[in-house]
């Protein structure tokens, strides 16, 4: 088992491994997402308070979960990259960042659209949305840093450190924004409270969330393949793999 992990750390082995399994993840992911969305749009009963508008939750909440999950995994990979100098961990961070940023963007946009019928405005500075906005800036910072530093390995290691520093800050930021929000809360309820959810409503949410996660795994595997090719372009195994 440990041997397999060590093997996985070598780019050529990982490349072949990723090629074999990413299609499987793709099929699973798309299947689960389709099932979850169908459940959310069709099967789940309308909410008694929010009517059919609550169905936005099925894209908003999984996106928000993904935005946090991906950043945390980037930080974990960052620790591995810095401590063990594992090249693939560095590559993972670079490839995961744009995916994480797009999920954060999606969470923000769907949250904003959901807010319009609920609170009457397109944007409110509520705790959750504000935290997501700051998280988006954290992602963009990692992407910008990677683009700015020329040497790829130095760039990846700098991003690894940045992701680690960021992840320590995420709970602090979240707590401080919550505190700030309770001080300035307006008269209307401004929290996306997850109501005590019926299983009919909850199940599609969980299924979609797992689907999104599998989709992330699928896409990050493919991105890593491209990134590995770019970085190891001059090596023999790449030339062999391309000519096959």
């Amino acid at each position: 088992m440990m041997r397999w992990f060590h093997q996985l750390g070598s780019p050529p082995y990982f490349y072949a491994f990723s090629k074999r399994i990413s299609a499987g993840f793709a099929v699973l992911a798309l299947g689960l997402i389709a099932w979850g969305i169908y459940g959310g749009l069709v099967l789940a009963p309308p909410d008694y308070q929010q009517g059919d508008a609550f169905r936005i939750i099925y894209v908003h909440v999984p996106s928000a979960w993904m935005s946090l999950f991906i950043y945390t995994s980037m930080a974990g990979a960052g620790a591995i990259a810095l401590i063990w100098r594992m090249k693939l961990a560095e590559i993972f961070i670079i490839c995961a960042a744009p995916l994480g940023a797009s999920f954060t963007f999606l969470a923000l946009v769907t949250g904003s659209v959901w807010g319009k019928p609920m609170w009457g405005t397109w944007w409110v500075w509520d705790a959750r949305l504000t935290s997501e906005l700051i998280l988006l800036f954290l992602y963009l910072g990692v992407i910008a840093l990677n683009n700015a530093i020329e040497e790829p390995r130095a760039a990846a290691r700098a991003c690894a450190l940045l992701a680690l520093v960021g992840v320590v800050n995420v709970p602090i930021i979240h707590y401080s924004v919550e505190w700030w929000n309770t001080l300035h809360q307006g008269p209307t309820v401004t929290r996306f409270d997850k109501p005590a959810m019926d299983i009919d409503m909850l199940l599609p949410l969980l299924i979609t969330a797992i689907g999104f996660t599998l989709m992330f795994v699928w896409l990050v595997l493919v991105r890593m393949r491209a990134e590995i090719l770019n970085r190891d372009a001059r090596s023999r195994w790449v030339k062999k793999a391309i000519l096959e």
Binding site: G51, D52, L106, V109
Partner: protein, 53 residues
Amino acid sequence: MHEFLHMGGYAAYVWSSYGIAALVLAANAIAPYVQLRAAKRRIKNQIVAESEV
């Protein structure tokens, strides 16, 4: 069917959310393969260029 599309009056909000989600997910799904193809093409050209030397 009409009720489904109507979404209790919230049609614009629900469908635009799902529409944006579909767009973002589709873009995310296509981009890696585009990158992969570009990388392969570039390396292939490089190999050809080197073998001609």
